[in-house]
Symmetry: C2
Subunit: 314 residues, 2 copies
């Protein structure tokens, strides 16, 4: 008897990952194409379908899941807007791909697909209440309750980056003030670093950037910290503490068994996690804190495509 | 054919409410006894069972639900600690009442039973994701997802009062800083008022309290506001704005269809709600904000007993 297989498509801003995934969330085949930002939805859909059809087990697949950043109508499978494909507006992606492939298609936000991916890959499909936090340019989240994705009333649940950390804090792009994202989002981390470096010189960062601080990214700060740069370690401590406030909010409110961090900023590893965990512990109810496993995803680059594939299983 | 009936018991610090509730959450019979803080668990359970047995439909009841404030092991039905009955420690309430009544017994936290009550009474059993916030001395919460109570990993989900509003804010009893409770909990509202009155005199409050500000409660502030006292209105505006930050956090994170406020502080009505709603709107994602109905419970005094009864239905 053949195993059940799903097709996942992760539409990133640089590349589109395509993978066949089994019923336990494991990738059995994968491929990818480059994201051409100027292509029409019809043309891009055609390219995706053609590439997917090259996969050996493609004929066995009954359903396809697609994850994409942005404002997605997950019920109708419409991409209202995506920062990865800025020219797209109200694209009926589900309908287009279903017509091309004659398979069932599901479309969802990439923070949601990442959470489903983390549920399968990091938690082995065994968590009852898992929160996945995507630490990238934006800070997003996906919520898995009772082993199922929780979407809220209008598919917009999980905007974890826009939980307030300091009600009088920085203005956020979303209109709110003091959102978590304004402390732990990649751009804000870089901006904070530039400020911090004015009073805390770092020869290591100066050498790495040629003193052009516009080149500072979380990756640069991580590499500098690895090289023993104290300033970078202090910056990560600050960011980690802010993350810890957010984590304690989640623990006190949701009492999850698992929190998974993924995305570029999470790659800072222990420089970020150690201060975050300390702050989280100090601010959380201890029963709930002890019951919650915090970890950085071991599969950041795979979460999206696996989670997309497993949308069908949801 | 007879309708299904449940028995609810709401163990408050002053009185214990007992009611027969039908399958739609409506009370068909009710009674109560005084809470005697010095009674042993066995004696109090006996009094409750005797009183309940006086209800006409008591023999038809198969299951009993009990709501009580404090640290409750809802799986085992053990009251680890309750502020309402401070001498109780690790009382096996489920077991005691089951032995006495020969009926199935469920025990849960009063914030959870209030949420179930609000789901039935305020939302007519029709909400898919409802958050109930209890605004009393403490600020608690109950979460209803997919029409079922969400408890989290260790039955401690819903500690809404301990979501951080300002990470550098006041120290909270829980150990955290700047918790919502330190702005909108009844005692903190009173404390803030005493401070505020140092620089903003109010003849109406002075008359109501005989200048003894230890007499200030949310009720006093509400009555003063009703009498046109500007200082009280300003205090409620401040408290409402802080509540609005919390509400926006919930909207952005959970995207609920309904938020119900109950408890003493919520009785301040429009003086609290108008500024809260304004702040909530400014800080929320608009799609999620528009999808969320915010209201003060119309049944604050009944939520606990109805929710307790409906625990069995859960």
């Amino acid at each position: 008897m053949s195993k059940k297989l799903y097709l996942g498509i992760d539409m990133g801003g640089t590349s589109i990952k395509i993978a066949v995934v089994d019923a336990k969330g494991l990738i059995t085949e994968e491929t990818s194409i480059k994201t051409d930002l100027n292509q029409s939805p019809a043309k891009l859909a055609n390219d995706i379908a053609r590439q997917a059809a090259l996969l050996k087990n493609y004929p066995k697949i009954k359903s396809i899941g697609i994850g994409i950043a942005g404002d997605i109508d997950c019920e109708k499978g419409v991409v209202r807007f995506s920062p990865n494909l800025p020219k797209w507006r109200n694209v009926k992606l589900k309908q287009i791909i279903e017509k091309l492939t004659k398979k069932n298609v599901f479309v969802d936000n990439d923070a949601n697909t990442a959470a489903i991916g983390a549920f399968w890959l990091d938690a082995g499909g065994k968590s009852d209440n898992l929160i996945c936090i995507t630490l990238g340019t934006g800070v997003g989240g996906g919520l898995i309750f009772g082993k199922k994705l929780y979407r809220g009333k209008t598919c917009t649940a999980g905007e974890i980056g826009h939980i307030t950390i300091d009600s009088q804090g920085h203005k956020c792009n979303c209109g709110n003030r003091g959102c978590a994202e304004t402390y732990i989002g990649a751009n804000y981390v870089a901006r904070y670093s530039v400020d911090y470096l004015k009073t805390h010189k770092s020869k290591i960062i100066d050498d790495m950037t040629g003193k052009d601080y516009s080149k500072i990214t979380p990756k640069v700060l991580y590499d500098a910290a690895l090289k023993g740069d104290k300033t970078s370690v202090e910056i990560w401590k600050y960011v980690g503490e802010k993350l810890g406030v957010l984590l304690a909010d989640i623990v006190n409110f949701i009492n999850p068994d698992t929190i998974i961090l993924c995305g570029g900023v999470s790659l800072a590893g222990k420089f970020l996690i150690d201060p975050a965990q300390k702050e989280m512990k100090e601010r959380s109810f201890q029963t709930a804190y002890k019951a919650c496993k915090l970890q950085v995803s071991h599969y950041t680059s795979k979460l999206g495509v696996v989670g997309a594939a497993m949308l069908a299983e949801q």
